[in-house]
Amino acid sequence: MSYLAPSKRLSSQTRLSLGSIGAQKVLSDVFADTAADAAAVGFVLAHLPREAGTVLWAQDRLSEKEAGQPYMPGIGVPQPVMRVNVSRPSDVLVAMEDALRCKAVSAVIGEIWGDPPTLDFTATKRLALRAEANGVPCWLIRRAASPNLSAARNRWRIASLPSAAHPHDAQAPGDPRWQVELFRSRAAQPGIWAVRYDRTTGRLDFSAASVDRAVDTRDGADRQRAAR
């Protein structure tokens, strides 16, 4: 997967509003870089609203098989979660649409594998309109998918970056860092950022990615030597 060069026209105004793009109560697409990468899920969870209300989490069968199921002891969201696992992608869309109509739902997360024919522009438009009408943020996590035509207001592509340094243990992974690309948005200018997620405070630090993702040339041998 190739990445766009980072936007050179990042104005300070755009950068300020970055946190609020994710907090918009609209439909957003999130494309995971690889199927087994939980960065996209982490990014969505970091944006869940703090208000009380059930989070509806719908998954199709392939997503569950390939990328696992949400694990609450690790997620630790304060809101109650209701999970819908169904076999067909169209059922995921139905469940999401039903939930978006409900006032007691604080956020809706859907996971769809691949590019099913039912997930066309009309389907996304329905979700987008309903999310805006009811004021519920709706996230569609897509894996092994191509960014087809969609009515999503924000479209993100998320990949993992090597994590930040662990404060106490040099060889342990620290706070997660993600490469976040906003490639289509109504509210903000697209761009690529390296985002650090502070797990203790639940804050996201956006900083412009200085370069395209660098390939780590080391094979980890030096760390192994250090470990010995």
Binding site: A38, P73, V84, A104, P176
Partner: protein
Amino acid sequence: MERTGNAPPDDLPVAMVAEGPHGPVIHDINRAAGLAGVQRGARVTDMKALLPDLRIEYADIVGDRRAMEQLMFWVRRWCPWSVQDGVDGLVLDTTGSDHLWGGEAKMLADMEAQFSMLGLTAQIALAPTWGAAWALARYGTVRSICPEGEIPQKLSALSVDALRLNNGTVTLLRRLGLKTIGALADVPRLSLTRRFVKAKLNENPVIRLDQAMGHTAEPVSSPDAAPSFRAHARLPEPIMDPTPFLPDLCADLCDQMEAQGYGCRRLLLTVYHTDGDTHRIEVAMSVHSRDPDHLLYLFRDKLEAINPGYGFDLITLDAAQTEQMEVVQAQLEGGTDEAVDLSRLTDRLTARFGTRAVTRPALRESHIPERAQNWVAALGDTLERTKTTAPDRPIRLLYTPEEVRVLYAVPKGPPVQFIWRRQTHKITRYAGPERIAPEWWHDKPGTRLRDYFKVEDHRGRRFWLYREGLHGDGRGGDPRWFVHGMFA
């Protein structure tokens, strides 16, 4: 009270067993076991020592209670009032209804016949008072009938056990030399009253004696059966699609329930085909409801499952699991409550995708990761959230851990690289191991321990790997490695 469908013959000693605080205890016994000296309430191990051939069956206490409740309504075929008496008795107030069965003796014979057709044995007695009937049914002759005014004669020969007293009082009366009811009745009333002035009802022979003799009234307060609600549409011509009739049926049913202040948690739609076939569709709700629109919505995609065949001419809609439901106004301006809204969403999703698809996490205190989280049906009652304090857990968990091939530098250390789903992941950083021992009270013997590592690969993806077992732990060959979850 036992169904004789698969019951052993009467001459084999059988005991029903219930769990007690210190192991299983005898709940009930049959006649053969009673003759052999098995006692109710004794521990099973003791009674097995006494009688090695004793056959043990587990008692279904809740089922028995429920069956008894149904039986209480079933016996209203003989009279309009009936009530349960303890766990094993029924009291019928047959005043004025015996002539419908051709007299009291014929009524009792009919009762015994009907009970035996159900597979039940019944000890029946007829008496003017509750207490006398209780005594005669248990300690009197078969189908004994006690006419008005003959209570003292009929009861006098029976032992004081027949007075519905607790064991301590019965023992006390025996020690006083009062072994029969007649002997007790002959004692001057003043001295008896003085002796038992502060005793409670089931310890007080004076009150019990008065009740049995009819000096103190003991009326039968007969509970009503829960009302059943049913709406039906009888059609002049067979039709293929019940959809147009459903809104009226739902509205009719909800009107009926509203009139009596009830709501239901289960709905049963039955269509009767012209060729005699029937088809049923059932939907369930998470809270009681009587909102016609909501009930109608739950059937939305289910009607397609009906095979019309030659069409059907009768549609019925039954409400089940009904319960009294108060009208609650949640908000002053008449809006809907959020909790109600959520329960409706649960109902709709469950009706559409099934109970196993719509779930809610139930966290449990367990160190084994897959046991710490359990998905339970969202339709059930809300559970309390138990807060588990896990050190560092992934946000995704694979349903079944997937085995990986690893390269490691030292056998007990972290891997240097692993191959998962045909891709090579080079490990740059790791944290661990975190050792999780098997839960011996759940797992099979021989289950190996797990050493969990949080690792980061060369592209920054963070995984949760574990090694199952150790080299030379005597529980199988080389340890195997698995991927179990993914971190953000």
